[in-house]
């Protein structure tokens, strides 16, 4: 699909993301200015505060943004997922340049001018308002300009906490190796940053008293810019309120990969069909969906039993699916007041894959069958598989595998590496859509080494009590999706680049849900 064609198909969504992006930046800069400028003024009056306050603001700036989001999520009032957390983080990032430039600007006022002001009998407030602030304004606006450009960049990461914005396209593009998504997200963010820079640059020039007076056109452009900002601001702040349906309201989350978002969308569509209003908080990074579920921001999200068992409950992996499911169900109920739905009917476990041609040639069915061949083979594994408890070290030991070479590479690239004969064995995801397309063969885990990763929904108990439709939908979806079917759905999105909503609607129709 050409980029142009992509834009034609997706411009409404792109515009929505651009709007979310502008709103996040606009509000956070507004808040940062109203905190930062007074703080900066205070620091010019109380020299002793200068070091500590600028120090703290400096430290804020050095915390990696993803880590800062991580710290904020568990906090009450300012944390959680969604735009509130993103705004807090953005404000914290924007403070330093604004405070620092306010201090620099005011202290940089020509000493003779300040002395003259005091000697004329101006009070401190008059010196500040009539002399220092107007003369420092150019430098202060530079600070705001820097903060805004930084904020446009950092806001792309806000997508990871479900705050929306252009980061949604960037993250999705990275995951799906879709250059159109990446380009649309990154280009739009770059254009926004440039526009903000240009506009604030014009504003800055209005405050230069040493140079030539600004040309009329730049004042016109500035006025137009201000009108635009105000219009966007008003338009954005008037965003439609949440319409509470009589059938209840449910916030659905998902992890940041195609299958998770797809399962969440299936749930969302089915609930909406039953008159429930749905809030979609998809594509959340790391452990965010779990945290959000436990603190009540989310009502449900799709998960895998093995992940809950090892990553959340910190148990050593075991192979028995029944035992894992029961243990997870019981512990989630007692520890988190969360119910585990019946299995959806498929597992997304590690799939040990070889080329179909090799499997037929050597008559391979199981991993044990392949063991004698591995000393001549090279293997390609994702970073995750190389490092996790149930990954490569335990796996190679369990089957006594020795490889000629082991390459650590990006998971998504291993499929192509295998089919193009760069490597001979990989550990993929069992529901990966490309398995069938690339004629890859999954070897059976005959020693039951890998823990079961049955797909389930995790739902808060209070949500089940509040929204009766949930139980009905969960019952319908029990054992409703086979591994092959999941592979096909994933491929529709990742391989054929189709719209997930469309794919889900089609599937629901075909199943008569």
């Amino acid at each position: 699909m050409s980029f142009w064609h992509f834009l034609q198909l997706n411009w409404p969504e792109l515009l929505l993301l651009v709007r979310q992006h502008i709103v996040l930046v606009f509000i956070s800069i507004l808040v940062a200015v109203s905190i930062g400028v007074p703080t900066g003024i205070l620091l010019t009056r109380y020299r002793a505060l200068r070091g500590p306050v600028l120090g703290i603001a400096n430290v804020m700036q050095t915390i990696p943004s993803l880590a800062l989001f991580g710290f904020l999520i568990p906090l009450p009032f300012i944390g959680g997922i969604g735009s509130r957390t993103a705004l807090v983080a953005l404000v914290l990032y924007s403070l330093l340049p604004i405070i620092r430039n306010t201090v620099t600007g005011i202290l940089g006022v020509e000493p003779s001018v300040r002395e003259a002001a005091v000697a004329m009998g101006m009070t401190d407030g008059q010196v500040l308002r009539q002399v220092e602030l107007p003369l420092a304004m150019g430098v202060i606006v530079t600070g705001i300009r820097v903060a805004t450009v930084i904020a446009v960049g950092v806001t792309t990461i806000a997508a990871a906490v479900g705050a929306g914005g252009l980061g949604v396209y960037i993250f999705r593009g990275l995951r799906q190796y879709d250059n159109n998504l990446l380009l649309a997200g990154a280009l739009s963010a770059a254009v926004l940053a440039l526009a903000a820079d240009l506009f604030l640059g014009l504003l800055e020039r209005q405050f230069s008293f040493e140079g030539k007076r600004s040309a009329a056109w730049s004042r016109v452009a500035l006025a137009a810019g201000i009108v635009l900002v105000v219009v966007v601001g008003v338009f954005a702040l008037r965003s439609p309120g949440r319409s509470e349906s009589s059938q209840g309201h449910v916030a659905i989350g998902s992890k940041d990969f195609t299958e998770s978002a797809l399962l969440a969308e299936i749930m969302a569509e089915m609930l909406e069909a039953r008159g429930v209003s749905v809030e979609r908080r998809f594509e959340l990074g790391g452990n965010l969906p779990h945290e959000a579920l436990v603190n009540g921001t989310l009502d449900l999200y799709p998960e895998y039993t093995g992940t809950s068992y090892t990553a959340i409950l910190h148990h050593t992996p075991i192979g028995d699916p029944r035992a894992v499911y029961d243990q997870v169900k019981q512990e989630y109920a007692s520890r988190f007041k969360v119910e585990v739905s019946p299995s959806l009917g498929f597992e997304n476990t590690f799939a040990i894959l070889v080329r179909g041609a090799d499997a037929r040639k050597f008559n391979l069915k199981t991993i044990s069958d392949a063991a004698p061949h591995t000393p001549q083979w090279s293997a390609g594994f994702g970073q995750d598989f190389m490092s996790r408890a149930d990954g490569y070290p335990g796996f190679s030991k369990a089957y006594g595998l020795k490889f000629a070479a082991v390459r650590e590479m990006d998971l998504s690239l291993t499929y192509i590496a295998l089919s193009s004969r760069q490597v001979d064995l990989i550990a993929g995801n069992s529901t990966e859509g490309r398995i069938a397309r690339l004629d890859l063969f999954q070897l059976a885990d005959d020693r039951h080494y890998f823990p079961p990763y049955e797909a389930v929904y995790l739902v808060r108990q209070d949500s089940l009590a509040r929204v009766p439709a949930l139980r009905e939908v969960l019952a319908k979806l029990a054992n409703a999706i086979s591994t092959d079917e999941m592979r096909r759905l994933n491929y529709e999105i990742d391989g054929n680049k189709r719209d997930p909503k469309e794919v889900v609607k089609e599937w629901l129709g075909s199943r008569g849900f």
Partner: protein
Amino acid sequence: MAAPFVRNMPDSKMGRPRSAAPTITPVKISLVEFHNVTFSLPAAANIISDLNLTVERGETLVLLGESGCGKTTTLKLVNRLLTPTGGEVRVEGKSTTAWDPIALRRRIGYVIQEGGLFPHFTIARNVGLVPALAGWDQTRIMERVRELLSLVGLDPDRFADRYPRELSGGQRQRVGVARALAADPPLLLLDEPFGALDPLTRASLQNEFADLTSRLGKTAILVTHDVREALILARRIGLMHKGQLLLLETPERFLNSDHPQARAYLDTLKIDDGGKQ
């Protein structure tokens, strides 16, 4: 009240009587008095040591000295940009620490090198600053601004709406003087006001300034390192050195002084053929 400081007033010409004496005290009160004033910064040698000095109404007193001698500090002690660490400075008989600093400063015009004009204000707004702070109405301020600009030799129609950067150094200095005079303060403080100007502009401004102060009957304290300027402008010259007042003489007596510091200054005049008035 001023009696103990007679030794600082050797010249009989001081204290020209003025009709509009602002106090009813029978004893004449000097406009500015320094009483044993010391000024120092923490952990440093004194910048001013035991300074005694009175400035009489209507006179122009020039403090002459090399840079670092404490003459600018002396000036800033008058309008309380600095407060003495010892002794006291009195303005109109009242210690500067007893004055409300804002009220004190609005009674004192202040002119510094390059004028210290506000670059973001027009010339009119710069000149009208103190009247505006004092709450004058806009028409009265504009009248006063036009009057003052004419007084310092600038055409109000040409200059009122310009910004300081659009003016030459000499023009800016004139605006600085106009601004200091705006609210008609009884006292002017001038810190090397003509120092940054070219010799021709400086000479003409010096003459105009001497003319202006005598016409308006203003009291002025002017700080300079230029002995020629001191001789042209001063009613009395105070020679300062390392924070102390060495001499306080009329220009005539200063010219004949045999004090070594005074002679050193006067020797500089001979090089360029002694340009006395």
